[in-house]
Symmetry: C2
Subunit: 330 residues, 2 copies
């Protein structure tokens, strides 16, 4: 089986190489593709150096499955032609809400892969980790409404944004001038309640994505409202989630459901340190759930804290899992 990664040298591209290497997929050939400025770079895969090829010159018929780990513009321009020759799994937001494109979280809605037209979309990172605990809770109790506040790591904004967090932090400590180029304001020792561009009613696109992707993946009748905030953390997104069910629920049963949720791990002791922090979730394939408790203001509602590596389950891992699902179907 032949694979290609478009945007191989970025944060998500590199993670995808790592995840492919650890996977059980039988990979005969892996093409690493990027923009002109990265051509000639070599990246390691299974003890071999692979030369980065140029997107403009790449022949998509060389790959059975191509993972796009680039932005929306690249996706818009290249995926329509690529998908005539290869199955595309796209990380960008461009095709997610297209009715003809399945939007897949591997453990949650694999059945939606049926009848894909060679393009499959990977959801937004902050959506994916939320779907994992919500899916089995929805199956049991039917979710009416979700209120989520996010605490999102800078690596979700790309490699340059990670560098900016660290350079701003150094300059702050050394009392030097701080420049913001990737973020609209200083991110070091600060928070920015704004991710992706603003849409007309005062929401950001990131918040809009969580709302609409959840409807597409889980159930169009679920209401969701999100506030998305960038925090000075390198990797792993955290989410404070309030879930309201149609009916009353049992907390112990809900906890049992979460403990059995595919791809999840519950870490929830009512004591110092008995919960997960983003630093601890980094490099882990699992989505962690802590602070599960009854909402005193509404007996049909539950609070929880959900943390996952945004580059892994939020991106690279889920795309590789989608590839595995595609091959299993054959």
């Amino acid at each position: 089986m032949n694979f290609a990664i478009i945007g191989a040298t970025g944060n998500v591209g590199r993670k995808t190489i790592e995840v492919l290497e650890k996977s059980k997929l039988k990979i005969d050939n892996l093409s690493l593709v990027a923009s002109e400025k990265s051509v000639g770079q070599k990246l390691r895969f299974k003890n071999k150096d692979i030369k980065v090829e140029q997107l403009e010159k790449y022949d998509f018929s060389k790959a059975d499955i191509t993972i796009f780990a680039a932005g929306s513009e690249i996706a818009e321009k290249w995926i329509p032609r690529a998908s005539k020759k290869t199955i595309v799994i796209d990380n960008s937001k461009h095709f997610r809400m297209d009715n003809e494109v399945p939007l897949i979280v591997a453990e949650v809605n694999p059945e939606d892969l049926t009848n894909h037209k060679n393009i499959i979309a990977n959801p937004n990172c902050s959506t994916i980790q939320l779907m994992l605990p919500l899916k089995p809770l929805h199956d049991k109790y039917k979710i009416k409404r979700v209120i989520v506040s996010t605490y999102q790591a800078v690596s979700g904004a790309g490699k340059a944004s990670v560098d900016e967090l660290f350079s701003q932090t150094k300059n702050y400590l050394n009392k030097k001038d701080i420049k913001s180029e990737n973020f609209t304001k200083q991110i070091a020792f600060n928070l920015i309640p704004h991710i992706d561009s603003f849409v007309e009613d005062g929401y950001t696109k990131e918040e809009w994505k969580m709302e609409n992707e959840t409807k597409k993946i889980l159930d169009k009748n679920i209401g969701l409202t999100a506030t998305c905030v960038r925090v000075p953390v390198k990797t792993s997104h955290s989410e404070s989630v309030n879930v309201e069910f149609e009916n009353e629920y049992n907390l112990d049963t809900a906890k049992e459901i979460l403990r059995s949720a595919p791809g999840c791990k519950v870490v929830d002791e009512h004591k110092d340190g008995g919960y997960i922090t983003p630093l601890e979730a980094e490099e882990d394939y699992l989505t962690f759930i802590s602070r599960i408790r009854k909402d005193h203001s509404n007996k049909k509602a539950l609070n929880m804290w959900v943390v996952s590596d945004n580059l892994l389950k939020g991106a690279a891992l889920n795309t590789v899992q989608i590839a595995e699902l595609l091959l299993r179907k054959k």
Copy 2:
């Protein structure tokens, strides 16, 4: 008029000196009081050095109004005897839920000061800044339920915790070992979903305080559920707030109400940078409100982002405002 500050050398004590100096209060004498280890230190007030006195030896009859900026244990031990000789305004949580003790946010419930018994409690920092926008919204639309996720600065945990954030950050950047003494886990480039101790149903005391103090200050019929999270920010707490009213509301009217809310400033443009971040609220007396928008999942609900300097409005400033209210009454 004679004033005293107990715990004068801590984060909040020092801020209280600053706020008193800027206030219009006529202060004849200011006593600065602390534990034995700080005795002999000198702190500046109105171009004069004041020597720190020892709590155990302090004569409370010297002050008309005494502001306690110390912890619960000091409050429990000393306030019952102090309040026989001076009016006490206490920052700690110890007396807040006592039926005989008014719990005051200056702009919100000054009328509750009537019939105090020489002890007045200052609410928790994360509660105070939330009350300012909620009060006028409640007056107009009657609030049914509030769901809040906090992003709380380390200075709320004291001076040693601020030092720990910066020393951990330096060690992280220099690849040295990181020790956590004030926090249960690393706070540098991380988040800790745990503030104050755990209570029995899985909530933390900080979350419990927000819930119960809101009922005492605003209305016992308001339901509130909180998730409190420590973030690697030095000063200013931020809150992602979802407010559900009893009835449908008008967004423009709600915005107008918030623009006129005492002690508040709305900063809310739907564009890059058109919102407040904690760094920008530092050193400011105002509570800032951004990201005001209709909740698509419930037409009776509204989202907003609320930021305030936790050492000022969340502590020192509100206690000085309480003193001003007490003197205005006379």
